[in-house]
């Protein structure tokens, strides 16, 4: 099948308005005859389900958590971007569009990104109308802060809990529709299979995680809002339950997987402490507004710190290497995530790491505390403040900005970041890749849509901070509810879809066979044993730096791991009733297949761009070398039986409004 991105004709700034005006409408009477399934209730899912229900469609929403409010969007910390220009710093829709295209290293679609920038402003209006308590200044108006990769302040926030507040806003809109009976909510349910009837996505097999029962649900369209697949690395900032199963089942049924190797490694996470660690915790990028990143300039100092013989506060200013400020003076500590992560790895690989494992750098607030303290002393009229007074005043300001993050850090590490610098290291955080979708957010299976992190469309090879929340809500509130009309307007005469068809029968049978296999396997190793091994392979060979030899090795290792997994995994208990181990086994099985495809994708992309860094393709200074002549395309993979034999389709990216340039933050 040829890839048709269905990008509307016309000037960039008019495409969306024109397209939206031309999408066929479905009359209110007919909407009542149309069923839509939404899988996942994070920002994209909750907002889409609520909006579609408001419009009059019959919606069924599914989440594996015990409540839709707990989807992992809840954990997003720093903020949400919008081109409001409230700070009068020259921001505009075009600038947000441009920053996003550049930040994504020129591997995203112009038309999609421009639409995102356009609707960003509606999101803020909508959320405030819903009662989302964003941070405000003393005049009662909305406050903003800065994020990496940009030179304006366009990020709206609610302390370090912006994702929570936005999700609770979407959850409240969803609740309003559930209360009206417009949305039927299925919590503690997980999608196990996509049902395709006559070439169209017409339903899902869902498992009730409490009873173990398999349920058939039919609909005229299926929206997958199931998030990213960072857990393929085992250790990531994703929630424990985050998984790729819904998207992978769609992939196996014909949906193309796009740019799967584009993974975001976030520079500021709490470093790994031990073998039994289950997840990594992010320290918001907003901290880079005020924190300065450094390692000792002398190797012997780094060694002394690692041995516990030297304290970072005792290293004199001139013996510190603020390597981001040194290498990238124009953006300093606020370079994009991929750049900051690689720079940290470079220093640690060179032997300047500062914790026991040698894989950590400092994020230091001492300078900010003094700067804010002096300001406060002036504002409060404190004459001749002592250093202690200044620090105390400054700590108060920092606490007001980042209090919950500092508290979180101290709980995990037992170290006080007001008094000594934080230790941080990059960790897997987000996946730019995902299901291939056209301009209408429809996958290559008609009737199957993908929204939010589950699709690939807006962030190219690297996502800018505070843009994930923007995209999730844009897709769910303002894009998909309209664009589904193009597909659904042809379905007004279809009537209810039966779940008694052979397609449903077969899909349910396939799920049952899979679960029975796990239960009856009688292996010797737990699911986590295999998941951890997969994570190690992925982090070592398909992580922050990749090369041909390593990627080929990874593919071979993952294939061997997959065989061993099926031969030797041990799942206790039964398929009837609550069995989280069994659910985990199904998820890990899919992650193993995905891992292989990620390595294959990384291997074919002979260039370095954004989060994808191939060691063979770098400048003498160690910067990424993009190859626009040969790789300005989206790689869309078609499943053909095994991941290794997936077929590559290329969607060429055309840039009509932005000039392709070497991305420089120097």
């Amino acid at each position: 099948m040829a890839l048709d991105s269905k990008i509307p004709a016309g000037p960039l700034g008019e495409k969306w308005t024109k397209h939206k005006g031309e999408i066929p409408l479905v009359s209110p009477a007919n909407k009542r005859l149309i069923d839509v399934i939404v899988v996942g209730t994070g920002l994209a899912g909750s907002s889409a389900a609520a909006s579609l229900a408001e419009m009059g469609y019959n919606v069924k929403a599914f989440c594996f958590q015990d409540s839709p409010r707990r989807a992992h969007s809840i954990a997003a910390q720093g903020g949400i971007n919008a081109a409001k220009n409230y700070q009068n710093d020259g921001d505009s829709v075009y600038r947000l569009f441009y920053d996003t295209i550049k930040g994504g290293d020129y591997r995203s679609r112009e038309a999609n990104v421009h639409r995102l920038a356009e609707v960003s402003r509606n999101i803020i209006d909508q959320c405030v109308a819903q009662g989302v308590p964003f941070a405000r200044d003393y005049g009662g108006l909305l406050d903003n802060r800065s994020f990496g990769g940009v030179q304006v302040s366009r990020t709206f926030y609610a302390k370090g809990q912006t994702g929570q507040q936005l999700l609770l806003g979407a959850y409240s809109a969803l609740n309003r529709q559930i209360a009206k009976g417009r949305v039927k909510m299925y919590a503690r349910h997980e999608m196990q299979e996509l049902v395709v009837v006559g070439g169209k996505a017409r339903g899902i097999i869902a498992k009730n995680l409490v009873t173990g029962e398999l349920e058939r649900h039919s609909a005229h369209a299926i929206l997958l809002c199931t998030g990213g697949y960072g857990n393929v690395f085992f250790l990531s900032t994703n929630a424990m339950g985050s998984n790729v199963t819904a998207a992978w089942k769609a992939h196996r049924k014909g949906a193309y997987m796009a740019n799967p190797c584009f993974t975001q490694i976030h520079p500021t996470c709490i470093p790994v402490s031990g073998e039994n660690q289950s997840k990594l915790t992010l320290m918001s990028e907003s901290l880079r507004n005020d924190g300065r990143i450094w390692v000792p300039a002398k190797k012997e100092d780094a060694e002394a710190i690692r041995a516990g013989k030297l304290h970072p506060n005792d290293i004199a200013e001139e013996n510190r290497d603020y390597y981001l400020e040194r290498r990238y003076p124009a953006f300093g500590n606020l370079v994009p995530r991929d750049v900051a992560s690689r720079a940290a790895k470079e220093r640690c690989d060179a032997g300047y790491g500062v914790n026991k494992t040698g894989e950590a750098v400092y994020l230091d607030f001492a300078a900010a505390i003094v700067r804010y303290g002096k300001e406060e002393a002036l504002v409060k009229g404190v004459n001749n403040p002592s250093d202690t007074d200044i620090k105390a005043l400054g700590e108060k300001v920092v606490e007001a900005k980042y209090g919950n993050l500092f508290q979180m850090y101290e709980k995990i590490t037992a170290s006080n970041p007001y008094k000594e610098p934080m230790m941080i290291y990059p960790a897997v955080h987000y996946t730019m890749g995902g299901l291939w979708v056209d301009y209408n957010l429809m996958t290559s299976i008609p009737g199957c849509f993908a929204l939010g992190e589950a699709n690939f469309s807006d962030h190219g090879a690297n996502r800018l901070g505070a843009s994930a929340l923007m995209q999730g809500l844009a897709d769910g509130y303002f894009v998909a509810p309209y664009t589904v009309g193009e597909f659904l307007s042809k379905d007004i005469r279809t009537g209810a879809i039966s779940t008694d068809s052979p397609e449903f029968e077969e899909a349910e049978k396939a799920v049952r066979e899979r679960t029975d296999k796990f239960i009856n396997n009688n292996g010797t190793k737990s699911v986590d044993f295999f998941h951890k091994r997969l994570g190690k392979i992925m982090w070592t060979e398909v992580g922050m730096a990749r090369n041909e030899k390593g990627l080929k090795q990874a593919i071979a290792d993952i294939q061997a791991l997959r065989e061993e997994f099926y031969a030797d995994v041990r799942v206790l208990g039964s398929a009837n009733g609550m069995n989280p181990e069994l659910d985990k086994a199904g998820r890990v099985a899919d992650l193993i297949e995905l891992g292989e495809l990620m390595a294959k994708d990384a291997l074919q992309r002979n260039e370095s761009c954004g989060g994808h860094f191939r060691e063979e393709y770098q400048s003498e200074e160690g910067e990424a070398l993009r190859d626009d002549k040969n790789f300005a395309f989206v790689s869309a993979w078609e499943f053909t039986g095994v991941p290794a034999e997936a077929k590559l389709h290329k969607e060429e990216l055309t840039f009509e409004n932005v000039e392709l340039k070497t991305r420089s933050y120097k």
Partner: protein, 250 residues
């Protein structure tokens, strides 16, 4: 460190549960409490014993999925944390740790340490929202100024993660802290005013239907709340409820 775990095991909602004893060694102090349970489960699987079922997801203190009553305290020892933020350095080798589910009539047990908290969702559905459609035609965000003090207080109330520690801690199994947090958030904002009276009446009514107890101002909920939701919210809800009871048009 070496520990003795006494864990509540219950096969299903109707089954009879009991405390089972599991000795465990090799626990590291940097492990979170849930990682300690992962570690135990790995060993149980090796021994052919079904692993302990417990709720968890984000493991960074924000999703509200993890619960657990540890040594008689919701989310265990330590203040303003969830169980996933509790670390084993709070315990010492040789300790015996009692791990039970959150207990309340309105939170029936599903299996082992996992309980059903859907009553909270139903309370929210009774009115925990502002009735505005997602048309994209709402007024500009800055056309609704909110005094910073009110905005901050609304935010503080809105940080509730819906974990249920307040209910599990309360001797009456009351959900007043939870319900009042949502009601307060909207009560403090201009956007919430048009529906304020119906909201408080409906949400309190639903709370009573779910079988939660009443509030006797003990204040244990505030102490155990991982997000430090203030009792002030209950006072505000009571005031709003009283006002609405006398002045509602319905």
């Amino acid at each position: 460190m070496d520990l003795t775990l006494k864990i509540w095991r219950q096969a299903g909602p109707e089954a009879k549960g009991e405390l089972k004893t599991y000795p465990i060694s090799g626990v590291e102090e940097d492990m979170s409490f849930l990682e300690m349970l992962d570690y135990l489960n790995e060993q149980l699987i090796d021994q052919g014993i079904e692993p302990v079922v417990f709720d968890h997801d984000c493991r960074e203190g924000i999703c509200g999925m993890c619960s657990l009553f540890i040594n008689g305290e919701a989310h265990g020892p330590g203040r303003k944390i969830t169980t996933c933020q509790l670390h084993m350095r709070e315990f010492k080798s040789g300790d015996t740790i009692y791990i039970e589910p959150f207990r309340a009539k309105a939170f029936p047990i599903i299996k082992d340490l996992m309980v059903d908290r859907s009553a909270f969702d139903r309370i929210q559905r009774a009115g925990g929202f502002i009735s505005v459609n997602t048309s994209g035609n709402t007024i500009d965000a800055n056309a609704i100024p909110v005094p910073k003090e009110n905005a901050d207080r609304a935010f503080d109330a809105a940080t509730c993660i819906g974990c249920g520690a307040c209910v599990a801690t309360c001797k009456n199994s009351s959900a007043m802290l939870f319900a009042s947090a949502k009601i307060s958030q909207f009560s403090l904002l201009p956007q919430g005013q048009p529906e304020a009276k119906e909201r408080v009446l409906n949400m309190v009514h639903q709370m009573d239907l779910e079988g939660f107890g009443n509030c006797t101002n003990t204040g244990a909920c505030e102490v155990e709340c991982p997000k430090g939701i203030s009792l002030e919210n209950i006072a505000r809800m009571n005031r709003d409820y009283l006002f609405a009871s006398f002045s509602s048009n319905k």
